[in-house]
């Protein structure tokens, strides 16, 4: 029996404002507990929230970048529940009048483009953090530095059908928020996290099944793994004749499985109502126009431009535009004189691999666009071979030296001088009579032996084309 999964994601992104959403406290990460607090974010009696207009602008930018309608009179609401990390016992969020609605983004999986609807994007404040280790082993401690950091929650339509699509969607949202520079996008610090709603149904005509929600997925890999797990679990339960119950689940990244947190019956009744301390968020058309004008080029547009301007393939362009920094790096390299295709190969290939392995960001790479261009030029003018270039690149990546300097210091220049290479080849042919015999008897493969010997004697620096030509002559 086949099942079709139906998936919707709720992505929370921390907005990169300098101050919190309803007070002037700093949002700086890593301060000692409760350092960035004031009467407002501590929830002291009598304190009142005032909206940070910058946070609203960031959220509007996101709405525009995801093709949403922007509500001109959106409203904050209180979501009431008790938890020690929630100092007011309500979270100021948005309910029936969110800031952005009815948007979409395009994702691409296996070369196919698919449009994922965005139901809504609303603003809210983050909660604090509980710390379970401290002086008293039986106590828990509350750190409210994070309380009041502005968040946007981006709720997708249930348009996603596979875990790959979910991952691609999450990556797309990550790209957009970092392109807009409204979110730092550091998932390890929780800048971007997501809840996944998953259900299954027998076929694409059937009504949606009962869904579960898995909370707090903070990496692209976790999103994919968790959804695969949940689809499998629901299929197993269904095939065993069981029923899926509506519940909230928690993902355990170590065990790679989720467990039920609470069923629907014990779910909170949040008693939403409009927050009386905050007037309607007034947004005028002029603000929307000016923010729209200020929007940077977004990933999809950039991809199209890269394909057009640099004659890049679809795949190369897609990979390059995932991050703004990588796209900028690429353009910088080409501007310095590198061929676009070669630059793209290096950036999406060796450079990305080294960056990943060393967990370095592209902006911190010791191989700058200028230096990469230098390396590419040395290959293109025949100074070094492609093979040597790979080891030169590795040295560049480690030391930050110029390609030319490394090539000169280590004597890695390609040898193309015919007289010099002919002497070497003569010597090899003379010293290997049996191989010559085999070759002449028709064993074409032995040719490789001669090339190998020549490369070995020149430490790989011989121009392979010249060697081929000479050897063919000598052996004919």
């Amino acid at each position: 029996m086949d099942f079709e999964p139906v998936i919707g994601l709720e992505v929370h992104a921390q907005l990169a404002t300098h101050s919190k959403i309803f007070c002037r406290c700093s949002t700086e990460f890593g301060k000692e507990p409760n350092h960035n607090t004031c009467p407002v974010c501590l929830g002291l009696p009598g304190a009142l929230p005032v909206i940070n207009r910058r946070a609203v602008e960031f959220a509007v930018m996101l709405g525009l970048a995801t093709n949403c309608e922007i509500r001109l009179d959106s409203q904050f609401a209180r979501k009431n529940y008790f938890y020690p990390d929630l100092p007011k016992s309500y979270q100021i969020s948005q309910f029936d009048r969110p800031l952005c609605e009815h948007g979409w983004v395009d994702i691409e999986v296996k070369g196919e483009t698919k449009r994922i609807g965005i139901t809504r994007i609303h603003m809210e404040e983050d909660a604090g953090k509980l710390i379970h280790e401290g002086e008293d082993p039986n106590a828990s401690y509350v750190d409210l530095n994070r309380a009041g950091i502005p968040l946007v929650e981006i709720v997708s339509e249930p348009d996603i059908r596979t875990s790959e699509e979910a991952k691609a969607y999450m990556e797309k949202i990550h790209s957009i928020v970092t392109y807009l520079e409204i979110c730092n996008g550091d998932m390890e610090k929780g800048n971007l996290r997501c809840d996944a709603n998953v259900s299954i149904r027998p076929n694409d005509k059937a009504p949606f099944g009962t869904r579960t929600e898995t909370k707090n997925l903070n990496s692209f890999r976790h999103v994919q793994a968790c959804i695969d797990y949940e689809i499998g679990r629901q299929i197993d339960v269904t095939l065993d004749g069981g029923k899926i119950i509506q519940q909230t689940r928690l993902w355990d990244a170590n065990k790679k499985q989720s467990k039920a947190m609470r069923d629907k019956e014990d779910s909170h009744d949040y008693r939403y109502f409009p927050c009386p301390d905050l007037p309607v968020v007034d947004i005028d058309q002029n603000l929307i126009i000016s923010l729209r004008e200020k929007l940077p080029e977004l990933p999809d547009d950039k991809k199209a431009r890269f394909q057009e301007d640099y004659s890049l393939g679809h795949y190369d362009a897609s990979v390059l535009v995932v991050s703004k920094e990588m796209a900028n790096y690429f353009e910088e390299t080409v501007k310095n004189g590198a061929t676009a295709k070669t630059a793209s190969n290096w950036i999406t290939g060796d450079l990305s691999r080294f960056l990943n392995e060393t967990k370095t960001s592209i902006t911190e790479s010791k191989v700058t666009p200028e230096r990469l261009t230098g390396l590419i030029k040395l290959i293109e003018d025949g100074t070094i071979s492609g093979k040597i270039a790979k080891s030169v690149f590795e040295t560049m990546f480690e030391t930050g030296k110029e390609a030319l300097e490394i090539v000169e210091n280590q004597g890695l220049k390609q040898v193309s001088d015919e007289t010099q290479l002919r002497e070497i080849c003569d010597e090899i042919v003379r010293a290997s009579p049996s191989q010559v015999q085999e070759y002449k008897a028709g064993k074409q493969k032995v040719f490789g032996f001669f090339v190998g010997q020549a490369m070995k004697q020149t430490k790989g620096q011989a121009n392979p084309q010249v060697i081929n030509q000479i050897l063919k002559e000598l052996l004919s």
């Binding site: 009598g46 009142l48 909206i51 020690p84 007011k88 008693r271 939403y272």
Partner: protein, 485 residues
């Protein structure tokens, strides 16, 4: 020489004339507090020593030839739901019994900027929920005109402080009548400004969309003085209005002839005490005789205001009071488990009336009930707002009683909350509509009990209220009742 009991603007004149010093003023009030407040219960905290030091400083400044403002050095009492830095701020609740405010409310900050002396923090119904001051977790305040009667609430302590001459003036807060009703019960002036005129920053929230701070004073001029000092836009309160504050003192002596006073045609006077009705009628007749035109108006949905108020108020309160959970500050039970900690702390910390309102609000906001209660109440609120707006096309102000009865006896209504709630019918509409309203002394019943007259103004038209009230006060002298203490 008489000091206590004089309006503060007159004390200031005497001070400038060299008849008295600031120190003498403050000493006189402190002595009076010492003498009678044990009986009256108006104060939860008295700021003795530091008041005297501040008073001396003001006198020195004056002696040096310095210019001093009217409020400078004046001992003013502040309701205990305003945060006053470094000083206990309990809201008359056990849950905040030992809570010391770490920051200053905007109202008191503005008073500090005017040089006032905080003489003490006054008793109130717990978290401002009540109309009798009997809901104070500590002790009830008593009406100085009849010690067996309540002073009204929730700003009962502030009313007693002014009425019994324990402070030169006071600050109260008004959510459904909490300034005006005790003012009416104690023969003083109580003014609730337009919603948003005075910043709510640092005033502990009961029902955020209705709460508004205001002055409680010996006379209308004092009210104008204090209101001017505490009004104005505040960046810390997003609901505070960005409008200029007029000089209310200039409104005081404007002629009232040919002003139009609205009389609500469909007012239910049946349920009122007959003496309250008599005093109300006599008051509007007085205005009429003085050339004020009485205009009949209709506020058709008036009968729904109590129900509406008792939905919106508790809904907001249930959310506002969630923060008193024993986690960060305030009373905390010894319970080990989180859920027990919440339940026990809140059970021990809150009094019955507060619990009732939290339950009411929690219920009304619950899934499935929201539309039937909160949403409907908001709709009625909008209708009432609109009806007042329409009425103010025809009139400058509206007159009506403040409350249905004079001060009632302590304990009389404790077991009849509905009767208590219903007596707020005249004081609630201005809060629901966000309009300014005041209570001025209008008459005395046969039992020596004061009764106030309520004047309701249009949005931001505090000036007209001062104009009408000041005229009434100056030209319609009423016999002051006899203080019982």
């Amino acid at each position: 020489m008489q000091i206590t009991g004089l309006p503060l603007h007159r004390l200031h004149q005497k001070r400038l004339g060299g008849e008295i010093t600031t120190l003498q003023i403050v000493q006189a009030y402190l002595e009076r507090i010492k003498a009678v407040d044990k009986e009256l219960g108006a104060f939860l905290y008295v700021n003795g020593e530091s008041s005297l030091v501040q008073a001396e400083a003001v006198d020195k400044k004056l002696a040096r030839g310095g210019k001093i403002g009217t409020l400078e050095g004046m001992p003013i009492a502040v309701k205990d739901n305003f945060n006053t830095r470094g000083i206990p701020t309990t809201c008359a609740s056990k849950i905040l019994k030992d809570y010391v405010a770490p920051y200053e409310s905007t109202v008191t900050r503005k008073l500090i900027e005017n040089g006032y002396i905080l003489i003490g923090k006054t008793n109130m119904d717990e978290f401002a929920m009540g109309s009798s001051n009997e809901n104070s977790a500590f002790w009830p305040a008593k009406n100085p005109w009849d010690l067996e009667r309540v002073p009204g609430g929730s700003s009962g302590g502030s009313a007693v402080a002014v009425a019994a001459n324990l402070a030169a003036g006071a600050i109260g807060s008004d959510t459904g009548g909490s300034i005006r009703q005790p003012a009416s019960f104690t023969n003083i002036v109580g003014f609730k400004p337009t919603y948003g005129r005075v910043s709510r920053w640092g005033m502990v929230a009961f029902a955020s969309s209705l709460d508004q701070a205001g002055p409680m004073t010996q006379d209308v001029e004092d009210a104008a003085l204090i209101l001017k000092a505490i009004s104005g836009h505040d960046e810390l309160d997003a609901t505070s209005l960005k409008v200029e504050v007029p000089d209310y003192l200039r409104s005081l002596n404007q002629p009232v002839k040919s002003m139009k006073l609205g009389i609500i045609k469909n007012l239910d006077l049946e349920s009122c005490d007959s003496q309250v009705v008599d005093i109300y009628k006599e008051s509007i007749n007085f205005y009429q005789k003085q050339g004020v035109e009485l205009v009949e108006i209709e506020i058709p949905n008036l009968e729904h205001v109590v129900a509406t108020y008792y939905i919106i108020g508790p809904c907001e309160a249930s959310s506002n009071l969630g923060r008193y959970d024993g986690i960060r500050y305030g009373l905390r039970s010894d319970a080990k488990a989180l859920k027990d900690l919440y339940e026990e702390s809140r059970d021990l910390g809150f009094g019955n009336e507060v619990k009732i309102r939290i339950l009411l609000g929690t219920f009304a906001l619950s899934a499935g009930y929201y539309d039937a209660y909160y949403l409907k109440a908001q709709k009625i609120q909008n209708i009432i707002r609109h009806q007042f707006k329409e009425a103010f096309r025809q009139v400058d102000a509206i007159a009506c009683p403040v409350t249905t009865t004079p001060a009632f006896k302590l304990g009389e209504r404790i077991n009849d909350p509905l009767k208590m709630y219903l007596s707020d019918i005249f004081s609630i509409p201005p809060n629901l509509a966000g309009l300014p309203a005041l209570s001025i002394p209008a008459g005395i019943t046969k039992n020596n009990l004061p009764v106030g007259l309520q004047l309701i103004g249009d949005h931001l038209q505090e000036g007209k209220l001062f104009q009408l009230a000041h005229f009434f006060e100056q030209n319609h002298p009423i016999e002051k009742p006899k203080l019982m203490i």
